[in-house]
Subunit: 363 residues, 2 copies
């Protein structure tokens, strides 16, 4: 089963538990699997097999995490809580780039290399379009074929949810399960849509921006704020005729990055050129990544950053829920448009409007 089909099944029938991933499909003997619409494993059974690195069970657990069914949610939280003590022992790397920047090819190439170096790699995704279409631009049928059958690599398309916050939570919790299953390198990829980069940046240790060398003006196309998130920039498709352009782009990015203050990590972001096709640059990117990890572990940033990220997610979740309750309150929902109009027409100050709405909400 390839990724597109799997993802299609998962988003169109939440109870269709994921059977196999990356392993050739075989008939399942376990009678528990007959009743597809109810997970029959206990929490303990899930946790035991996840810790053993059972890919099928890991996938099923992730499907529970991604489910909007309250019963599934409850069990998913139990599984996560039991897995937490075994999680965290990984390096989490965020990878972003616009469509066409060569993310799949890059991940395929560097993923293969990383797995060959005795790592277990999980490739996850946050795809904002999955909020709406159920389809995933990060779930293309032909993507990452060469690593989709690598037993040391686990690939999972983006979950879908009603909001980016929902997608982010599910992905962040999936990281926990993957780590408990022994995946010591975790990629979280995203495209540059909405706030998805911010979400990914808030759950990884290192953030990598992939760029394709263009006509010399590619810096113009970068979303504001992304440059400052990047710990590394990789200019892709640096091969053949494109090498000169790639080198030029590299220098432009280096100049731009040097103009920023040093990030809190203390690590000056580096720029690489690479060609997945020619196989060049990947060693340097990976060595640089490992250097970053050593450096930030040594200076304490790595741990401090993870702690801060956890705090962030707790407060962010609270904040989003408080706002959701407010804006979905029937009275507020009916009154809000009128207040917005008044504010827009300068008939009332935004602060007055806010205070009145809050007063009504509290009753």
């Amino acid at each position: 089963m390839d990724h597109f089909e799997k993802h299609h099944r998962e988003t169109h029938a939440e109870s269709a538990l994921d059977v196999t991933q990356g392993v050739e499909q075989q008939p399942i003997v376990n009678p528990h699997f007959v009743r597809r619409h109810r997970p029959e494993f206990t929490t303990e059974q899930f946790v035991k097999r996840i810790l053993e690195g059972d890919i099928a069970v890991l996938s099923q657990a992730i499907t529970l995490v991604e489910s909007n069914n309250p019963a599934h949610y409850a069990q998913a939280q139990e599984i996560i809580e039991r897995c937490l003590p075994y999680a965290g022992k990984s390096v989490r790397i965020g990878i972003t780039g616009v469509p066409g920047a060569g993310k799949s090819t890059f991940i395929e190439a560097i993923g293969g290399m990383v797995a060959a170096q005795n790592h277990k790699l999980a490739v996850l995704a946050i795809d904002p379009s999955s909020e709406r279409s159920g389809g995933s631009i990060l779930g293309d049928k032909t993507r990452m074929e060469s690593i989709s059958t690598n037993p040391k690599i686990f690939i999972r398309p983006s979950p879908s949810a009603g909001s980016l916050g929902g997608v982010a939570r599910k992905t962040r919790e999936t990281v926990v399960l993957c780590e408990a299953a022994g995946y010591d390198i975790v990629f979280v990829e995203t495209v540059g849509v909405g706030q998805s980069e911010t979400a990914v940046h808030s759950m990884v240790d290192m953030f990598m921006l992939l760029q394709i060398a263009g006509a010399g003006d590619e810096l113009q196309g970068i979303k504001r704020g992304i440059m400052e998130m990047a710990d590394a920039v990789v200019i892709t498709k640096a091969e053949g005729d494109n090498i000169t352009r790639a080198e030029l782009a590299k220098r432009q990015f280096e100049n731009a990055l040097m103009l920023f203050p040093l990030p809190e990590s203390g690590w000056r972001p580096k720029v690489y050129t690479s060609s997945a096709v020619a196989g060049t640059g990947l060693d340097e990117v990976w060595a640089g990544t490992m250097d970053f990890v050593s450096f930030t572990r040594a200076n304490g940033f790595f741990e401090a950053n993870r702690r801060r990220q956890n705090q962030y997610w707790m407060r962010e979740t609270i904040d989003e829920a408080l706002k959701s309750d407010f804006y979905h309150n029937p009275q507020i929902e009916s009154l809000l448009p009128r207040y917005c109009e008044q504010v827009l027409a300068d008939l009332t100050s935004p602060f007055s409007a806010a205070h009145e709405l809050l007063a009504l909400y509290k009753k």
Copy 2:
């Protein structure tokens, strides 16, 4: 009375209504002023005199806005609502820079120039330190002396409040009053502390970053995110021996800014050198400012930006209040530390912790 004394009085005795500002103090004949601790003007009287440009009454109204006394707050909101139809007819310019960048000198010089061109200028401030100390780093006794007695210039130190949100609200509402009083240019200055630049940026039409030319590495000291907010950068103290350094700094900033995508305004930020002492550069800065205003009015960004800012303040105020209510809830206050510890110790996921706290809060 100079600004330091005035600010001191205002922050240490909220009911000490501001008497005169920028005008030589004269005995007040109005018997209403005898009872200093209660404003005796009706809302109508306040509004009438504000619209007439009465500086003393404007100052008193602002003191009401800045007051934490609920009765004062209520009347302040009435005054603001009545003034709103007369407000908005100004250009609001945010000015930021670290201490030592020459903000006061710059504002003094350009302020005098602007007032001479038949404008009425209000100079306001957001000073985060006023949250704590009651003193103002933007209230220095010797600042802006030459314009402090200019009848066309109104200067008000930062309000204080329990939070940046409170300071921002009070300043934003003060803008309304100043505009109703006929001030058609409004400066809002701040130092680069915390989120104060974001607050200022969210209430102005144009954001100006002041920088002093240093040893060639000044870009290193700029807070992340500030560059991207700037519509103009002014390299100050470009005089004498410093001119070469200033020109170099100008080129560095221009290179850096060119590497960013074009802002939504469509206006490519410009860099200027200026010397308040030598009187150079100020014409160019002001001409550039007026160009920016024409440009953004013509392409619709000016109005759209103001509308979005109002929406922002309404939602921001709601958001802050919802969070404040949550985090100050006695049950939450007592439970939160335990949950934070559990999250920090990886005993519970940040999402679980958040959901449990929310469930308890809703009861």
